[in-house]
């Protein structure tokens, strides 16, 4: 499912790039990665800046503080294809332009979520925003690996249902 790769990057190399990128994810040639090298995602068709911006945008649209970046990266990785390249480039350019109007160098340069959300609100009726948002509904929440973070247990048939496993175990009423 996931196209994330652990890459053989040194902590030092990553940290130096993290300083350059400033944001939560590290953008380097051909990849973006977590500052602690816990995960990395290859970038092939779109630019590293665009991928890093998409990742931040995904977090800001559906922020869950207990859900790690790697899940958001999986949710947006499908935009890194030739067929989506132009749509992404135009969309991110417009987003960065909106950020400039709000007084920031670009979207990623806005350090507070509130500022970024205000920028997103200004473009929320655009097809670009709606495409990204709509894709995340399934791209993020249909990842089985995030369900336990929300406590959701998924199917129970293989365990015989909950008839003997707590369908009525509420104890605080």
């Amino acid at each position: 499912m996931t196209r994330l790769n652990k890459q053989g990057l040194t902590r030092r190399a990553l940290l130096s790039r993290a300083v350059a990128a400033g944001a939560l994810a590290v953008a380097g040639p051909g990849f973006i990665a977590a500052p602690d090298a816990a995960w990395a995602v290859e970038v092939t068709a779109i630019s590293e800046h665009e991928m890093a911006t998409l990742l931040q945008m995904a977090r800001d649209i559906y922020p869950h503080d207990r859900v790690g970046d790697r899940f958001y990266a999986v949710a947006i990785k499908s935009y890194d294809v030739t067929e989506q390249k132009d749509m992404v480039a135009e969309g991110i350019a417009a987003l960065d332009e909106a950020a400039k109007k709000a007084g920031f160098d670009n979207y990623l340069a806005a350090g507070w979520e509130d500022d970024r959300v205000a920028i997103l609100r200004s473009i929320q009726d655009t097809p670009f925003f709606q495409t990204i948002r709509g894709g995340l509904v399934t791209g993020l929440y249909n990842q089985k690996d995030i369900w336990p973070i929300f406590g959701y247990e998924g199917e129970s048939f293989s365990h015989g249902g909950y008839i003997d496993r707590g369908f009525d175990d509420i104890d605080w009423l």
Binding site: P63, H64, Y141, G154, G161, I163, F167, D168, I170
Partner: protein
Amino acid sequence: MATAAKFELTDDSVVVIVGTGAGGGVLANELAQKGVKVVALEAGGRYMPEDYINDEWESFGQLAWTDPRTTSGDWRVAKDFSGLPAWIVKAVGGTSVHWAGASLRFQDHEWKALSAYGAVEGANLLDWPLDAAEMAPWYDKAEAKLGVTGVGGRARLPGSNNYKVFEKGALALGYKDVHTGNMAINSADYDGRMACQQTGFCFQGCKWGAKWSSAYTDIPRGEATGNLEVRDHAHVARILHDDSGKVTGVEYFDKDGNLQMQKARVVAVAGNSFESPRLLLNSHSSMFPDGLANSSGQVGRNYMRHTTGSVYATFEQPVKMWRGTTMAGIIRDEARHDPSRGFVGGYELETLSLGLPFMAAFLDPGGWGREFTTALDSYANMAGMWIVGEDMPQAENRVTLSETEDKFGLKVANVNFSDHPNDIAMRNHAYKQGQAIYKAVGATRTLPTPPYPSTHNLGTNRMSERPEDGVVNRNGRAHDVPNLFVSDGSQFTTGAAENPTLTIVALAIRQADHIAKEMAAGNV
């Protein structure tokens, strides 16, 4: 089991039924049991409990009708889910695979909505040409067939966590008629089907077969008589007729995409409230230029979808609402007709839960940011209920033929819907009551959630005493065409406050009796 029948395309002695859900599937079996030869044509594929998938999106991909449809009107579904006005099933068994199992009789006065409520401005209310007394024995048969709990000596289901929260809040507000419902889900083994294992995923097809569905009850039993042939992946394109105006058969695309023609003595349409009127409208001819059985102009009109909505709430402690039977919980106190509340008709409140993936899609479609995500962060501590109320039939809420065509080149259904002021007043009342119920149990936040793509689709070929007021008569028989019947929820004159499946089944059993007698008497 006997080998299922195989009938010739040229056999003009058969009854052709279009659709195999709660209406068509039951009609097919009931006729087959009486010795009537039946060919049932089903647009979807065939899946049994072992095939059902307990994963919301994957199951949706397996079962849902996702062929194109278009939408218009001011309902929010037209904006949020413009190509998906309904969440219903395309498979043998139809939406009886997906339904939650709530099996309620209409209240007596609901058969006579116009008389009971009086004329409502902007609404197209009408009395059914049937009443509670006439329907009572057919309801008895339907309840026995489905194994409905809470009636016929069958015990109710046990209450889940989600039900316990709901019940405590309801009792705190003074509601009296509160229980785990009348469910076509076995509380004990019944009729060869096992008891509910509290697995959840009722909407995705019951893998235990504890919930009644025509897919694994009526359909195979009808086939076992040797009188029923079910053809799946058979998409009916049009109904044909002769110069006398009687129908003679149907044209359909088979699983290989080839156009076939099945002759028929009788045709019964049971494709749900979008596909049934679409088929009649697509069957227009020089004799019936506005569509088959449409001299009244009523085909497609008066589309009803129940006044719905949900209320979810979060609590300090876990609820785990996804565990157990999805809809085994009901408050019936608001189902009465009491215009002092500011609307006519009434509504039921029923427990409901969605898994995380569907909650993300349906909690606040289009919503984003922390207002949305902090609610999902409390998903495990969430309880949920669904509103099911009577909505007003309106002439302009209707199914028409769209300019969009499906893969066969057939015009698809456009579904136009706008709420009536009565619908809005009722929904707002229900939101207020639902939120109060959860606040009474300590809810930290309540979430009045908009209606989902429709699951109760009713009224587009409605039953009427006078031919000018509707499409079919008291037996579901077309006013204009003596050997054409409508056998699904589209024949509903009004929607009542109750989940419609039990009434669809009761009407199908009753209609089978009528058709068999009329065939025996040579009247059809």
